[in-house]
Each structure stands twice: as C-alpha cells, then as structure tokens.
C-alpha cells in the first residue's frame, strides 16, 4: 500500500460499519426484549378480540399497525440513542477512526446499520401481521360459509367476497412503508442528537419528545397560518420550521377505514422523508466532523 494513494468516500467501508452495527444491536438484550414484546402484543390482538363486538378486521389492522409503529419507534429511539455514545464511552471509535475511514462513512454506516435492522424488524412484524390477518380471514370465511352472522338478504358469495375485500388489502403495505420512512427520520434525529449529547437517557427523552411533537406539526401549521396572536408564535414556529411533520406519514388509519391513498401521495411523502433525513444527516455530519473525540 503506498502512502500517496488518494482516498474517496467508500460504500464498502460504510457497509462494513453498517453490518457491524447490526451485529452490535442484535447482540444486545434490549433488542430481543422489545422485539419479543412486539410479537407478543401482535398475537395478543387475537385474544383481545374474543371479548369485543368490534369490527374484527378493523381492530386487528388498527392494533397491529399501531403495535408495529410503536415497537418500531421504541427500537429505533433506544437503539439509535446508544449507537454513538457507546462507541465513545467504550472508546471503540478510536481504532476505527485511526484507519483510513472518513467520519462521514462512520456516521452513515451507523445510520445505515440501524435502518437496515429496522427494515428487517418491520418485515418480521409484517409477516406476523399477515399471518394473523390470514387466520382471521379463515375464521370469518368459515362463519360466512356456515351462514353465521349474515345480514338479511346477503348471499354467501357476497359475504365471502366482502370478507376477502376487507381483509386482503394490499394498501396496508403502503401504511407499513410510510411507518418505516417515519422511523428513518426518527433514527436520523437520534443520530443528530448523539453528535452533541453524550447521554443516552437525554437522547431517548429528546427523540421521544420530537417524535410526539412531530405529530402536532400539521395542526401547528394550520394554527400558524390562521392565528395572528404573537404570544404562541415562537412555540409554533419551532414546531412548524424545525420539527419533522410525522403525521404526514400516517395513512394507516385512513387505509384501515377503506379510504384509498394514491401511490403519488406515498411517493411524495417518501420524498419528503428523504429530504428531511438528508438535511438532518448533513447537519449531523458537520457537527460530528468538527467534533474532538
């Protein structure tokens, strides 16, 4: 190896760090515990149903999508908060940055590792969700075939078709896709906070607050445009101009109710997710690059 060789940003190094980050998180207890809880809660939705006269399919969908979003957020927030502080605290970052590795490669490697793991987690939960839906469908179909619970005048064929139309909704994929991109933003926010705050607890609290506030941005925006009173403007301004609009990623509720959401809107929202994530990571990069480690 000659010393005069120039180095450029390398995806190979980025992915090396990302893969290692995935190993790191997977070998931690919190990940398994949260994942296990998530899976238990998903399955729990079947038993909760026994006691209710809800619209079964709506409930299963609401419950599972909420559980996926909730446990996904929990894993993202806790996992991301630990990424950089652990490296600094255990000083494992020193030998890494002593190699010809750009700090941007390191930062993006950590981020990529987290969101890749998140993708696998959501896929796993989605598969369980699909299995539960399939199970529910089998039950409902059995009921319909046996003529149980049919409204007056509804033929068995019609009931079967109705059940299938309600259960097999390919649009649910869009909902999970947007949940994923919402969590990608949350992950980027966690990384940004970690570049200047070393406390894991502080990071978890901050990211959680931003997560919650992110769902108020739509409301805050409407308020900002309609309300002319000065007193509430500063708070609204922070929400409107800095906090990501996470509510924009919520299409699950509407999809469960059978409303249709166009791919156009889905892609538009994903583009917004890319934009916000990119800006956040760029800011994180500038802070991390000038950081004394």
């Amino acid at each position: 190896m000659s010393g005069s060789q120039r180095h450029f940003f390398s995806f190979y190094r980025l992915w090396t760090i990302a893969a290692n980050t995935m190993t790191e998180i997977v070998r931690q207890k919190f990940f398994y515990i949260l994942l296990l809880f998530g899976v238990i809660v998903l399955i729990l939705s079947l038993f909760l149903l026994e006691f209710s006269h809800l619209d079964r399919v709506k409930f299963i969908k609401d419950f599972n999508l909420a559980a996926i979003a909730f446990f996904g957020a929990l894993i993202t927030i806790v996992g991301t908060a630990e990424l950089l502080p652990l490296e600094l605290e255990n000083r494992t970052i020193y030998p890494i940055l002593a190699k010809p590795v750009f700090r941007l490669e390191f930062l993006l490697g950590k981020f990529t590792g987290m969101i890749s793991l998140l993708l696998l987690t959501l896929l796993l939960m989605s598969v369980i969700f699909a299995a539960l839906l399939f199970y529910t469908e089998t039950q409902l179909l059995a009921d319909a075939m046996a003529g149980r619970g049919l409204a007056e005048g509804v033929t068995v064929d019609e009931a079967v078709r109705q059940v299938k139309a309600q259960v097999r909704d390919a649009q649910l994929f869009k909902a999970i896709l947007l949940i994923y991109f919402k969590l990608v933003i949350v992950c980027a926010v966690g990384i940004l906070i970690a570049t200047f705050a070393t406390s894991v607890v502080f990071n978890v609290i901050c990211t959680s607050i931003i997560y919650i506030c992110g769902h108020l941005v739509t409301t805050a925006r409407a308020e900002w445009m309609s309300n002319q009173t000065v007193s509430s403007k500063p708070m609204l301004g922070i929400l409107v101009f800095f906090i990501p609009d996470l509510d924009a990623f919520n299409i699950a509720d509407a999809l469960v109710l059978g409303q249709s959401v166009s791919w156009e809107l889905v892609f538009q929202t994903i583009r917004y997710g890319f934009f916000y994530t990119g800006v956040i990571l760029l800011v994180a990069h500038f802070i991390f690059d000038s950081k004394e480690i």
């Binding site: 190896m1 000659s2 010393g3 005069s4 060789q5 120039r6 180095h7 390398s10 190979y12 190094r13 090396t16 760090i17 290692n20 190993t23 790191e24 070998r27 255990n90 000083r91 494992t92 020193y94 030998p95 890494i96 940055l97 002593a98 190699k99 010809p100 590795v101 750009f102 000038s290 004394e292 480690i293």
Partner: protein
C-alpha cells in the same frame, strides 16, 4: 498533490499545539509548539508523566483532534487528510474493541475498513493471528480475552493493512512480564521488517531496551530528546563485570586501579533483576508441565 517534505521522516510536527477550552474563559494548554521528527525505520519512545501531552500528540497525529496551531505530517502527508492514515497502524491504550466480535472477526473488520477483501483479506487475517500467537483463540469473543490477548489482537488489527508506521500507546499496560517480553520482541522484529514505531510507555526498562531515540514531554513541551544510548551512557565512568576471580586477585586489581588514579565507586556481586528471575522460574515451570 502532497508535497513530500523529507523522504526520511515518518512523523514530523511543526509547532503542533493544542489548547483545550475548559470553560468560557479558561483554556488549558495540552500541547505547546511541539516540534519533533521520527525517522523511518526507527523506534522512537515518547515518554512523560501522566497529563504531559502524549495522548494528545497521538490523537493529533491520528486526526482525532484538530490542532489549534501548527501541523503534523505522516510520510509528508498532512494528517488532516484521511489518506495519511493508510500508512499508520494504531494500537490504543487498553485496546477497546467490540466485545461481541471474535479475534478473527475483529481483525477482519479492521481489514475491511482498510478496503481489503476476499482471499487477500482472509490470508492476512490468518497470518496476523498466527504472528501474534492467537490461533487457539481466534474464534473466541473478545469479551473472554485477557488483557495480554487484547493487546495482541490490537497489534494484529493495527498491522492489518501492512502500514509503514505503528503507533503503540502503552502496549504493555496490564500485561504480565512474559507477555510484555513477547511484545518487546515483536517490536524488535517489526523494526527488522523495516517498520517505524512510535512507542508511548511508562515502563522505562522496556523503552530503554527497544528504542533508538526517546523524547520526554512535560506540560505539553518536549523537554529532552535524543539517542537512548548517548543519553544513558556516562562517559566519565566505566564498568567491568568479571567472572572467576579469587578474593585475592580482586583486591590486587583494586589496588592497581587506585595506583593508576581511578576510584572504585561500587563493587560487589551483581544482582539479577526480578524480571529475569521471574521469567526463569516461570519458564522452568513451563518445561516441567510439558515434561509430564
């Protein structure tokens, strides 16, 4: 693009300074206008009490800190460029690696970070693990490694991209005397292979044994620098160590020394060092074990 200022220098610093801000008003000077050169293929010992600026120097050389003033160059390349780190391997003090990786995985991970892959990487990993004598433990996770083993795996990862320069920060801290001797031997072997080594250590005996030159830092300043042999030789004194002389012959020679105008400052049977005694005893124990 990078001007090679002097082909024979591995490390070169010019007015390298680092100030730390403790509060808004107060600053602490970590390193003050440091100028020093490590030549290629020499072993240089950087010494100094705690807080004298050794670690700061290493972090500056590795680009982990930004200098407040001045610059450092590795083989003529400014350390602010990531490329400068191609030719340097770093063994941190108390090696901090991922506990969840095995020895082999650790070396492989760092090899990948240096852009290595495939057969070449696997061969290198095996070679280095053999070199540091960890073949039997290559699949064990680092969580179960002893300090000495960690140092060795640290050395292996430092050398993975075959760098010309090695920065060793306290390579023998917490290692038992045998491990310590082995690391010393390894340093000498590396020198023979043509490597340049910067060694930070508190164990002065060891520094004395392996270093060509040393520099002593205090309060962020280089207060003494030079060739080890020259610095330690007392040119006004001379020493014999003699074997097989009778008591009578000894007193005769003593008298003669007095006649010639010399003065005996110290005489008696030389004591072996505790280190040597320890090593001898332990090695005998090893032999007995193997005999059984």
């Amino acid at each position: 693009m990078d001007m090679v200022s002097s082909t024979s220098s591995a490390i070169e610093t010019r007015n390298l300074s680092k100030h730390f801000r403790v509060s808004l008003r107060r600053k602490v000077i970590g390193l003050d206008k440091l100028n020093f050169v490590v030549r290629e293929n020499e072993v240089y010992g950087l010494l100094g009490p705690n807080g004298s600026g050794k670690s700061t120097t290493i972090k500056l050389i590795l680009g982990l800190y930004q200098p407040t003033e001045g610059e450092a160059r590795l083989f003529g390349m400014n350390v602010e460029s990531v490329s400068s780190r191609v030719s340097v391997g770093f063994l941190p003090e108390n090696p901090y690696f991922y506990k969840y990786l095995s020895g082999e995985e650790t070396v492989r991970f760092f090899g990948r970070l240096c852009g290595m892959r495939g057969r070449a990487l696997e061969d290198k990993v095996s070679e280095l693990i053999a070199m540091v004598g960890l073949e039997r433990h290559r699949h064990r996770r680092l969580g179960g490694y002893s300090k000495g083993m960690l140092q060795r795996i640290g050395l292996a990862q430092a050398m993975v991209q075959d760098p010309k320069l090695l920065l060793l920060d306290e390579p023998t801290a917490g290692v038992d005397p045998i491990g310590s001797i082995e690391i010393r031997d390894m340093i000498l072997k590396l020198k023979k292979m043509g490597k340049t080594i910067l060694l930070c250590s508190h164990l002065l005996d060891q520094v004395q044994d392996v270093c060509d030159r040393i520099g002593i830092l205090q309060y962020g300043k280089m207060i003494l620098e030079g060739d080890v042999k020259e610095l330690l030789t007392r040119k006004d004194q001379y020493q014999y160590v003699i074997e097989g002389l009778s008591q009578e012959a000894r007193s005769q020679i003593g008298r003669q020394i007095g006649d010639k105008g010399g003065r005996i400052l110290r005489e008696g049977s030389p004591q072996t060092t505790l280190e040597q005694l320890f090593l001898q005893t332990v090695r005998q124990g090893d032999n007995r074990q193997e005999g059984i």
